[in-house]
């Protein structure tokens, strides 16, 4: 049991943010998560730059995959929610979020690698970017005063106006936090779960008994199932982050209409 506690401790240490080439984290220190974030960045760039140069009227190979991915986000997400004009206009932003989150999530599933999205530093930053961008879009579309006024729905009694305004402000500020925490928590919890099952398998292998073989077998099966499930979660979280971003942009574009 002590052994297991030690292994869990090691797992948590392994999953914590650590400097890669130094002992302490300074302003420009490269951390383990940032390192994999940069690898995901390179992979995303290579995938899209190579794929976008292998397009043909009859799609095939990597060009086909890139086209399908772009069409999925642009048509199935942006244009569906924002309309043809705004959907096309804001697709590059939403698309960047979707593909960057997806590549990071999937990269983290390779044994030994980590998801760049498995740390709050990354997910909060992207949440903050979304916050700034959608509010910027709203202010650009309606003007600062009208946009701020839109936080209080028309028809609200005067007495309730300050409360409504406050609630709306809080709700807006909670958005980047929830975006960041949701993505981080899913990635982190998924990796903890995979790690726990891997530890169970390892411990079971150490003691040769029927009970430990059964436990180890079950833990192994669960590990495989959870590993497959994590791929699904990786795609799902990328989709949720992007769809919420699109919803926020849509809300900002039509803020003054109600």
């Amino acid at each position: 049991m002590d052994n297991m506690g030690k292994m869990v401790e090691e797992l948590l240490h392994e999953l914590s943010v650590q400097p890669l080439f130094s002992k302490h984290i300074g302003t420009f220190t490269l951390t383990n998560y940032s390192f994999f974030l940069l690898i995901a960045f390179v992979l995303t760039v290579v995938f899209f730059l190579v794929g976008s140069r292998r397009l043909s009227l009859v799609p095939k190979g990597i060009g086909n995959v890139v086209e399908w991915a772009v069409s999925f986000v642009r048509d199935g997400l942006c244009i569906d929610m924002l309309g043809s004009e705004d959907g096309r206009k804001y697709f590059p932003f939403v698309g960047t979020i979707f593909f960057f989150v997806l590549f990071n999530d999937v990269l983290g599933l390779i044994p030994g690698a980590k998801p760049g999205t498995g740390t709050l530093g990354t997910t909060f930053t992207w949440g903050a970017i979304v916050f700034l961008v959608y509010n910027g879009i709203g202010i650009k579309k309606s003007g600062f005063v009208r946009y701020i006024k839109s936080f209080v729905p028309s028809g609200t009694p005067v007495v309730l106006m300050p409360l409504m305004f406050l609630l709306e402000i809080v709700s807006h500020f909670l958005r980047p936090l929830t975006l960041g925490i949701r993505l981080y928590a899913n990635m982190y919890a998924g990796h903890i779960m995979l790690g726990i099952f891997a530890i169970l398998v390892t411990i079971s292998l150490e003691s040769l008994s029927v009970g430990s073989a059964v436990t180890g077998g079950l833990a192994f099966v669960m590990h495989v199932i959870m590993y497959g499930f994590e791929f699904f979660v990786a795609g799902l979280q990328a989709y949720i982050f992007s769809i919420l971003t699109t919803v926020y942009i849509n809300g900002a574009l039509h803020a003054t209409e109600h």
Binding site: F28, S34, L37, V45, L49, S52, T96, L120, F124, T125
Partner: protein, 166 residues
């Protein structure tokens, strides 16, 4: 608590990589893909429109051909009917004419036969009379007077006439 506080270097890397990725993708990767998608969608739309136009044109032509075929069929039936009527009329005319001609020929032949018959009868009467007189003269061995001669001829003619009638 420290674990959940975002680390500055991570924020910087996440921010910088996101901005650079956004610029790279939106400048170099997404435009060719979206252009290809839109181009293909446009091409498919055009092809579908063209196919629809062709289908409508084909249906119009088919309808036109059907009308023309029906007209041609009705025209052919009319022509056949007219031909049949003309042929029937011609046949009737020819038959009537042939019948008339045959009737005329027959009449002419009957008249000729009748005339021949009358002529033959006259000739026969004269011959019979002369022959009778000669035979009678020889049988009787005597000369007949003019009055006897005449009476004998009359009687012979009457006898020959009655024979002919029988």
């Amino acid at each position: 608590m420290e674990a959940i506080i975002p680390k500055v270097p991570e924020v910087l890397v996440a921010l910088a990589s996101f901005i650079v990725l956004f610029v790279l993708l939106s400048k170099f990767a997404f435009p060719p893909v979206t252009t290809m998608l839109d181009g293909r969608a446009e091409k498919i739309r055009e092809s579908l429109e063209k196919a629809e136009e062709t289908r409508i044109e084909a249906e119009r032509l088919l309808e036109e051909y059907r009308v023309q075929m029906a007209e041609a069929r009705s025209e052919a039936t009319k022509i056949i009917e007219q031909g049949r009527t003309v042929a029937e009329n011609m046949k009737n005319e020819i038959l009537a004419k042939a019948r008339e001609e045959a009737e005329a020929e027959k009449l002419k032949a009957v008249e000729a036969i009748q005339a021949e018959k009358v002529a033959a009868m006259s000739e026969l009467q004269a011959s019979v009379a002369n022959l009778s007189v000669a035979v009678a003269g020889k049988i009787l061995g005597q000369k007949l007077t003019a009055a006897d001669h005449a009476a004998l001829i009359e009687r012979s003619i009457a006898e020959v006439g009655s024979l002919h009638e029988e």
